[in-house]
């Protein structure tokens, strides 16, 4: 039977589509990109759970994947506001889950990560919730990494045994909602069905044992996806440094690994040119311990894990006009924040007793008036002081860092190349 055709507009463009199609599909067919995560063409009706496909349809906000096109429909996809809402939803997922991409099997193949890059998520505007989730090693074929689950519901709908029984189902409700797995049913899945489950999951929450890297590097979904095109950079020499006073820059590494500082030095010869433009004050690079001048820009690597970090960070806030947090650790805690799910006492016992060959019966946790005291968890820098700019990455690319700094110092416009921005 011929499908009825309907006429609609997307961002003002007249479009003809078949009745019954959803807005995501229709937009895609017409070269208009609407972000989506839970949407999976097989699943009908669409789940509408993630909400990253929010658009305006006839003046009302709606999930594009669950909105069917109608005659005369007016769809708006790209306005600053809508882009911001969609980005916010992705940021919420990062704040809600615990995503340590550098140690994730799905990195490079992950739809959430891909969307993060695509929408230009550098830092989540929402505070990380740091809720501990289990990693479930009980299933026979799989490992379920609940820290990464975005509760999209795809697995619930798509992963069935040959007898049609569900292997996954949501449990609890509200912010404690999680996906539960039926061990008995899971054991009945064939290897192919298990692999299918891993591919259905848009993130790295469902892993098949022994097959955790589902696709090799180079073949991963986002390996060839260059979302941001390369733009030539203005050369530093194009600036006229003699017209300006040398800008003062300070840097520090808090609870970080110095990797970001190493990365900063990675601009090779450009460093020489840079020296003409800026002067370093307090910094591990100069070994100046206390501020001797007010700085134009302070660059912070690492988050706060102890009282000393807090003191240094506050000194930076007081002595710098602008603060730039570089690297994941300073932005939200990063790898050190892996301890945020475990009570401090347990961490200390693990570090100073269980994990060492401490044969003595008494546990000694180092403490001395000269030693900094340890915070209950690792704090992102912006939880402690106001941070003006964020440069993501683990570590961030050198070019990216200096472009940001120069932009802040000299108002120089810049573009970020894909390779500078993509870490997987």
């Amino acid at each position: 039977m011929e499908k009825k055709l309907v006429h609609l507009t997307i961002d003002g463009r007249p479009i003809v589509a078949e009745e019954g199609q959803n807005v995501v599909e229709v937009a895609k067919a017409n070269g208009i990109f609407i972000p989506s995560l839970c949407y999976y063409p097989h699943i009908d009706p669409p789940l509408g759970s993630c909400r990253v496909c929010t658009v305006m349809a006839n003046g009302r906000s709606a999930a594009a994947c669950t909105t069917l096109v109608k005659e005369g429909m007016d769809v708006v996809v790209n306005t600053d506001e809508l882009q911001d809402w969609r980005k916010a939803v992705v940021e919420m997922m990062y704040a809600e889950g615990n995503h340590f991409c550098p140690s994730c099997e799905k990195s490079g193949d992950c739809d959430l990560q891909g969307l993060g890059y695509n929408l230009g998520v550098t830092v989540s505007r929402f505070p990380h919730l740091f809720v501990d989730h289990v990693v479930d090693y009980n299933p026979q074929r799989m490992v379920i990494e609940h820290n990464r689950c975005i509760r999209c519901r795809r697995c619930v709908e798509e992963v069935l045994t040959d007898e049609g029984q569900r292997v996954f189902s949501f449990q609890n409700r509200g912010n404690t909602t999680e996906v539960g797995i039926d061990y008995e049913q899971e054991a009945k899945l064939t290897h192919e069905q298990a692999m299918q489950a891993m591919h259905v999951c848009p993130v790295g929450a469902i892993l098949v044992r022994g097959k955790s890297l589902a696709r090799p590097r180079g073949d991963r979904k986002y390996d060839h996806d260059t979302v941001v095109s390369e733009v030539p950079l203005p050369k530093i020499t194009a600036l006229k440094p003699h017209l300006r006073r040398k800008k003062i820059v300070a840097t520090t590494s808090l609870a970080g690994c110095f990797g970001c500082h190493m990365s900063m030095l990675d601009i090779d010869l450009d460093l020489v040119e840079l020296i003409d433009l800026v002067e370093f004050n307090k910094s591990p690079l100069t070994d100046i311990k206390k501020f001797t001048k007010r700085a134009d820009v302070g660059i912070i690597e690492g988050g706060c894990c102890n009282s000393d970090n807090v003191e240094v960070l506050k000194a930076f806030r007081e002595n710098c006009d602008v603060l730039i947090a570089i690297g994941e650790c300073s932005i939200w805690g990063g790898l050190p924040a892996m301890r945020n799910f475990v009570p401090l006492k347990e961490c200390l016992v693990e570090a100073y007793s269980s994990a060492t060959n401490n044969t003595e019966s008494k546990l000694v946790i180092p403490h001395h008036p000269d030693l900094p005291e340890i915070l209950d968890r690792v704090y992102a820098c912006n939880e402690v002081v106001k941070i003006d700019h964020f440069v993501p990455g683990c570590p961030p690319d050198a070019g990216h860092i200096w472009k940001t700094v120069k932009n802040v110092l000299f108002g120089e416009k810049y573009a970020i190349t894909h390779s500078e921005f993509k870490y997987d």
């Binding site: 009706p45 789940l47 509408g48 759970s49 993630c50 909400r51 906000s61 999930a63 669950t66 069917l68 911001d84 809402w85 969609r86 916010a88 939803v89 919420m92 997922m93 704040a95 809600e96 505007r125 929402f126 505070p127 919730l129 975005i150 509760r151 519901r153 029984q165 569900r166 292997v167 189902s169 949501f170 449990q171 609890n172 409700r173 509200g174 912010n175 909602t177 539960g180 797995i181 039926d182 008995e184 049913q185 807090v310 806030r317 007081e318 401090l344 006492k345 200390l348 946790i365 403490h367 005291e373 340890i374 915070l375 209950d376 968890r377 704090y379 939880e383 402690v384 002081v385 106001k386």
Partner: protein
């Protein structure tokens, strides 16, 4: 009493099966899950998913006497904490667990619809109201000495405080069984439909959709069976009007459902009753039986056109979102109460995929009255946009809390006068999902043209802390979110963390701006009405009471984040090195 129609799939029976298991031994054991799952031919994890969705289902022993204490904001302001302490002391059970002998289990639960007689609690789903620590001791003593809960429960007062003059009273007038149904013997379904349409009746569940239009839409979708569902989930904190209707006029509701069934051409009616109102079940069952005797249910009727209708009750299990009509349908089908996507409206594809009308208790009662009194009487009352009368549940800081039937158009001031509120300061209209107004708004009218009210008015005097009210509401939404969509599941959590921070005196202007922005994002991106209204308490309060928030904020501009509290962040370490 019928709990299940023979042609319904067994799956629709899921909640009842879980209830049965829990009523037998006080909780749902693993073997119950295994047994019921195999009966339903679903995997255990799927059934676990259903059981864990509803907060009245316990998967661990929860005591022979399960005590649920209402933690709504009105209870909080009425010594909720003292009552919890009294229960904890008397029973030996901590809140959220049982005593060592497993006799008592103590839990808190959102509004149980007793805002006119707080503090209140349910014990094995029998109501206990106007609690005091002394009364708590007495109750527990009696339970220990073997007196049955059913003998200790108190009669729940209806507290009807006001009705308009006699000819203007629609709902709370005297009731003569069968009166509304007389018209059915003379009229065709089409005539009943136009009667309801002309009356101008609009839904009383909060969305105010024209009832006649809804019925007509449903009647047009072909099906072997259409359903009439009565939404008796009344979950919006502060609302208890449906409780009073069910307690006082269950027959009127049954007649309303029969009228709807006839008009729509439905074959079945289902009342979805919140578990908090299980104590009303005998009355509802008695009413259904009465209409069976009268020949209006379960048999061919004397209506003008051939008509046969049946009604059963479905008990919920503790979930506010199940009041949302599509979540309610999911719940009736024995699933998790997750709202459906709005691709189809229930009038087209509702219960079991069949055309379904879902109406609030009050809407159906009003429909019965319209048949009894005629549409002119109804539509001559009220305002042009909102016809007739409306039941409002009034609670909080006033001397006459209870039910008010008012003609649409009454001013807030008039109602405040009637209920004798000496110092109204912060007034929450339509529950947490509604909006707050201040005493300066008291000239406003309850009407579609001005201030719509779904049925609750909570009055707070100037001694009450606004932030405490908002935190209670946000905690409620966080607890009741179905967890299906990101912005509501995570958003309410993030909101509640922010509000905790403000309560610690660490809020900044930036926090306020952020919450305003994030609230807008939640409103626009969530999937159902719960998430869309969840930011309302804060957004409206900021608009209405800016001066309150100003004094809550940090005015220093050091760039230091006041919410970061070094001393408390170091507590754990200091404790660890001590020991």
């Amino acid at each position: 009493m019928k709990t299940h129609f023979p042609d319904e799939p067994l799956r629709s029976h899921t909640l009842d099966m879980l209830w049965q298991a829990q009523d037998e031994k006080g909780y749902i054991a693993n073997e119950d899950i295994a047994r019921i799952a195999s009966q339903l031919q679903i995997s255990e994890v799927e059934l676990e998913g259903v059981a864990s969705f509803y907060h009245f289902f316990h998967r661990k022993p929860a005591g022979k006497y399960r005590i649920y204490i209402n933690n709504s904001i009105l209870a909080e302001f009425k010594d909720y904490r003292d009552i919890v302490r009294a229960f904890e002391k008397a029973t030996g059970a901590p809140l959220g667990g049982t005593d060592p002998t497993g006799t008592f289990g103590l839990y808190d639960t959102p509004c149980i619809g007793m805002c006119d007689q707080e503090p209140s609690a349910l014990i094995n789903f029998y109501p206990f109201t106007n609690l005091s620590p002394a009364k708590v001791d007495q109750i527990i003593d009696s339970l220990r000495s073997g007196v049955g809960v059913e003998f200790l429960a108190n009669a729940v007062e209806d507290n009807i405080r006001y009705t308009p003059e006699r000819e203007k009273t629609i709902l709370l007038r005297e009731f003569v069984p069968g009166k509304a149904l007389q018209a059915l013997t003379r009229w065709t379904p089409g005539e009943v439909l136009s009667e309801i349409k002309e009356s101008g009746l609009a839904g009383r569940g909060g969305a105010f959709f024209p009832t006649g239009v809804k019925w007509e839409l449903c009647s047009k979708f072909e099906s072997d069976c259409r359903y009439i569902v009565c939404n008796a989930d009344e979950g919006e904190p502060g609302t208890f009007k449906d409780r009073v209707l069910l307690n006082r006029l269950p027959g009127l509701l049954i007649e309303g459902m029969i009228v709807a069934g006839y008009a729509v051409g439905a074959c079945r009616g289902i009342i979805y009753l919140r578990a908090e109102y299980r104590w009303l079940l005998p009355k509802i069952h008695a009413a259904i039986e009465m209409y069976e005797h009268l020949g209006w249910l379960g048999a061919d009727t004397t209506a003008k056109e051939p008509f046969r209708f049946d009604i059963r009750v479905q008990i919920g299990a503790g979930s506010y979102v199940c009041g949302e009509e599509t979540a309610l349908l999911e719940s009736m089908e024995g699933k998790r109460g997750e709202p459906r996507t709005k691709t189809f409206f229930p009038v087209e594809k509702g219960y079991l995929g069949r055309p379904t009308v879902i109406n609030n208790v009050e809407t159906l009662c009003a429909a019965a009255r319209i048949m009894e009194l005629g549409h002119e009487r109804f539509s001559s009352l009220g305002t042009p946009v909102t016809r007739g009368t409306k039941l409002i549940s009034v609670g909080g800081d006033c001397n006459r809390p209870g039910i008010y039937e008012l003609e649409w158009g009454m001013t807030v001031a008039e109602l405040l006068e009637l209920c004798d509120a000496p110092d109204p300061y912060f007034i929450q209209v339509s529950g947490p999902s509604g909006q707050c107004i201040s005493a300066w708004d008291s000239h406003r009218r309850f009407a579609g043209e001005d201030l719509l009210c779904g049925g609750a008015l909570m009055i707070f005097d100037s001694t009450r802390d606004i932030l405490q009210i908002i935190r209670n509401f946000t905690a409620f939404f966080k607890h009741e979110s179905c967890g299906m969509c990101t912005p509501c599941r995570a958003g309410n959590f993030i909101f509640s963390r922010k509000l905790d921070k403000m309560a610690r005196g660490l809020g900044s202007l930036q926090d306020i701006t952020e919450m305003q922005q994030w609230g807008q994002i939640m409103k626009r991106t969530t999937r159902c009405g719960l998430g869309m209204t969840a930011p309302n308490p804060l957004l409206y309060a900021l608009e209405r009471f800016p001066e309150y928030f100003e004094q809550k904020l940090d005015s220093t501009r050091t760039g230091f984040n006041r919410s970061f509290d070094l001393e408390s962040a170091l507590e754990d370490y200091r404790e660890a090195v001590q020991s």
